[in-house]
Symmetry: C2
Subunit: 394 residues, 2 copies
C-alpha cells in the first residue's frame, strides 16, 4: 500500500498549472490565484506623515517652555502642505503629510493654544511622531507572490499600493461525476436497494468552496456507453475530472474500463482510513481522479489527497496544510493505516465522534476537523495530537 505522503508526492510530481492567465479587477480578486507577483510601485507611506494630532515644527526653533510659535498653516490628511516657514509651527492631524522643513511633531496634549500661536510645553526628541516615507513598504518590494490565493487583506494590501487590476490564473474547471446504479438524486423517490446520491453534493460543494468552476455531470449509470459519453463530455468541458465510486481493486466496473480505454488508469491502494481505493489516470489528455465511493472516504480523500493536486493545477503554490497540536480527550488504538478521525474541538480538548465508519457522513457534520493518527500509533487521553480543523482546508 502507498502511504498518504507518497500518494500526494506522486500526484504533485504530475501536477502543473493547467490554466491560462487573465486580468481581473482587484475588487473581484477574492479567492483568485495570483499569476504574477505584486511589486510595490510606490513607498508606503508615500511621504513622511504625522502619527498624531498635534503641531509640526523645526526642533531647533524651540527655546524652552516659554516658546510660542506662530501658526503658519493647517495640514489635514489628504492635503498638500506648503514648506514650513522658519520659526513657525503647523497645526497637523494624524496621517497628514509633514511640511518640508518640519522635523518633529508635538502631540496636542503637550501644547497650549495662544492668541499669537501655540506654546510648546514639552518637546519630544527630534523626529518624534513622524511615520517615515517607505517605513512599511519600499518601492520595488515584492509584497505578494505568484501562486498566492488572495484573501481579503491581500486585496487591501494591493489596493494600498494603487493596484487596480491583477494577473490571475483562470479558474480551474473541474468535472464531477458520481457513479453507481444504486444512486438516485434527492427529490426523486428511492426504491428498494437504492440510496440518495450524497457524493455529488459533497464534491461540488467543496470544489466550489475552493473557487473552482464546477462542471456538474450528475450520475453515470453502469453501462459502458453511458459512462463513455459522460467521460468524453467531461474531458471536453473541464481541466480535471473527479469521480466517486467504482475504483476498488478487483471491483467490476465500467468506469475503470472506459477510463483505461480512453487514456490510462492506475488503481492505488492508499494506506489511509477512510479511503483506501483511489485512482489516478487520464481521459484523453485530461487528468482523472477517482475517489472511493463511501461518503466519508470521498470527503477525506478529497481534502487530504486530491486537494494538493487540484490546488497545484490551479497554480496555487501552498498546497499542504500544517496540522495544529491539540489535546485529545479520547484514547484510540492505532491501525495499520493512517487514520483521519472526525473530532470536535471543546474547551477541554478534542472529542471523538463515536462511530468512525466510512459510511457515516454525519460524523463530518458533527465534527469541526480531523485528527491525523499515524499508522500503528496509539492515542491516549491527554496526548497532543495532529489536528486539522476543516477550516484550514479552505
Amino acid at each position: 500500500m502507498l502511504s498518504v505522503n507518497d500518494a500526494i508526492a506522486t500526484l504533485l510530481r504530475e501536477a502543473r498549472p493547467l490554466v491560462g492567465r487573465e486580468r481581473v479587477d482587484l475588487l473581484d480578486g477574492l479567492g483568485r490565484t495570483l499569476a504574477e507577483d505584486v511589486v510595490a510601485a510606490i513607498d508606503v507611506p508615500p511621504g513622511d506623515n504625522s502619527a498624531m494630532d498635534g503641531y509640526a515644527l523645526r526642533h531647533a526653533d524651540w527655546r524652552g517652555a516659554d516658546t510660542v510659535l506662530q501658526l503658519s498653516q493647517r495640514v489635514t490628511a489628504g492635503s498638500a502642505p506648503d514648506p514650513l516657514q522658519p520659526g513657525t509651527a503647523a497645526r497637523i492631524f494624524t496621517g497628514a503629510e509633514i511640511p518640508a522643513g518640519a522635523d518633529t511633531v508635538v502631540m496636542q496634549e503637550n501644547c497650549e493654544g495662544e492668541d499669537a500661536g501655540v506654546r510648546i510645553l514639552q518637546l519630544p526628541a527630534a523626529g518624534a511622531n513622524i511615520r517615515r516615507r517607505g517605513q512599511d513598504i519600499t518601492t520595488g518590494q515584492r509584497v505578494l507572490t505568484a501562486g498566492r490565493r488572495l484573501r481579503s487583506q491581500d486585496l487591501g494590501l494591493a489596493a494600498s499600493l494603487g493596484v487596480a487590476k491583477i494577473s490571475a490564473y483562470r479558474r480551474l474547471k473541474v468535472a464531477v461525476l458520481s457513479t453507481g446504479d444504486e444512486l438516485v438524486e434527492p427529490g426523486e423517490t428511492a426504491g428498494p436497494g437504492q440510496i440518495y446520491n450524497s457524493n455529488r453534493f459533497t464534491m461540488t460543494g467543496q470544489l466550489a468552496a475552493w473557487g473552482f468552476d464546477v462542471v456538474d455531470l450528475g450520475i453515470a449509470r453502469d453501462r459502458p456507453e453511458a459512462v463513455r459519453e459522460k467521460m468524453l463530455r467531461a474531458a471536453e468541458e473541464s481541466d480535471v475530472i473527479v469521480t466517486s465510486g467504482g475504483v476498488s481493486v478487483g471491483e467490476e466496473d465500467h468506469v475503470k474500463n472506459v477510463v483505461a480505454s480512453l487514456g490510462s488508469l492506475d488503481l492505488w491502494r492508499i494506506a489511509v482510513k477512510p479511503g483506501k481505493p483511489f485512482a489516478f489516470g487520464r481521459v484523453l489528455d485530461k487528468p482523472f481522479i477517482g475517489l472511493p465511493g463511501n461518503p466519508v472516504s470521498v470527503f477525506v480523500t478529497l481534502l487530504v489527497v486530491a486537494r494538493p493536486y487540484l490546488f497545484a493545477c490551479q497554480g496555487i503554490a501552498a498546497t499542504r496544510q500544517q496540522p495544529l497540536a491539540a489535546k485529545s480527550r479520547f484514547a484510540r488504538k492505532g491501525t495499520t493505516r493512517e487514520d483521519y478521525l472526525r473530532v470536535r474541538s471543546t474547551p477541554g480538548g478534542l472529542e471523538l465522534f463515536p462511530n468512525q465508519s466510512s459510511g457515516v457522513l454525519f460524523s463530518t457534520c458533527w465534527g469541526d476537523g480531523l485528527v491525523r493518527q499515524a499508522a500503528g500509533k496509539d492515542i491516549d487521553e491527554g496526548d497532543l495530537v495532529d489536528y486539522l480543523p476543516f477550516a484550514v482546508f479552505d
Copy 2:
C-alpha cells in the same frame, strides 16, 4: 474603556436575524444559513445492506465446512432482492440490500465457488457483515439545525436524506463605505498627502467571503451633503451599514454628525489593539457599524468585534470562535489593552511579525492568524497562547 467581550456582548444583545427566508436548491446551498432544521424523513441506511462482497445466507442453514449452498440470486447495489429461498445463498455485493430471510453475510474470501453453488469455509457469527437499517440516522432525527452555515459535507448529508431544497435565510446585504478626504482609488493618481483606499477592498472582500451581498458605496468625501446622500442610499439598499474611519472620540468628522442626525450613534473606546475607536448606531432603521480607519484596525475589528454581530444578523447561530492553544516562539510584554498580534505558524511554533503597528497591513498578509494577548499579560517564549488562524474566521 469597554472590554472586547463586553463590546461583543452588547452588540449581540442588539442582534437578531434581519433577513427573510427563501427556498434554495441544495446544490446552491454552500455557505447559506439554514432557516429551518433538516429532519431525517428516512432511515440511513434505508434497509439492511451488505458491508462486504460475499454471500448472504441463513445462519441456521450451515452444516459445517462441507456445506454447499445453491446460488438462488445475485444482488448488486441498487437492485431489489427477492426473499431468500431456504437452503440457498445469494451472491451479494457491498452496499446491496440483504434479501428477506438472510441473516448473515460471509465475505467472499471465506467461500469457494462450486459448480453446484458455493462452499462456505468459515462461518462468522449470525448477523455478521450486515449494516442495519437506521444504524447511522433514524427517521425523525434532527441532523442539521436552523442557524447552521452549510459546508460541503452538510450538503452531502442533506442529500443522503433525499432533501433537494432547503429553507435558508436570504443573504444579508451589507453596505460598505470608506471615509476620508485623503483617499484615492487604486488606478487613480495619488497626489501629495493622498493615500490609496485599501479599507474598501479589505472590507468588501471579507464580507463577500462570509457570503454576504455587498453593497459597495466607495468613498464618502468629508462634506455633509455627500455623506448624507451615501448614508441614505446605504440605509435604503442594505440591511447593515459598515464604514471605516472617522469614529475617533473628539475627531472632527461629518460621518458622525450625519449618522447622529439620521438616527443614533454611540462612540465606543474598546480596550483592543489595534482598533480602539468603534461606533455603533443606526441610520434610519438600519444598524450602523463604524470601524476605525487604520488598515489593520479595520481588519481586526471586522473579524473580532463586527463578525459576531453580522453573523447573528444573518441568522447564524455560532458567532464566536474558539482559539487554539499554540506554542509561542516570541516574548512580548502585555499592554493595557487586549492585543491581537499578527503571527505565522511554523513547525517550531508561532512567529511574530516584527512591526505590530496598526498601519502596517502587510503584517496581516505575511501572517496566517492572530494571537490574542490578554491585557497586562506577558508572553514568554515557549508559552501556550491563544491562537486564532485567519481560516477560523471564515
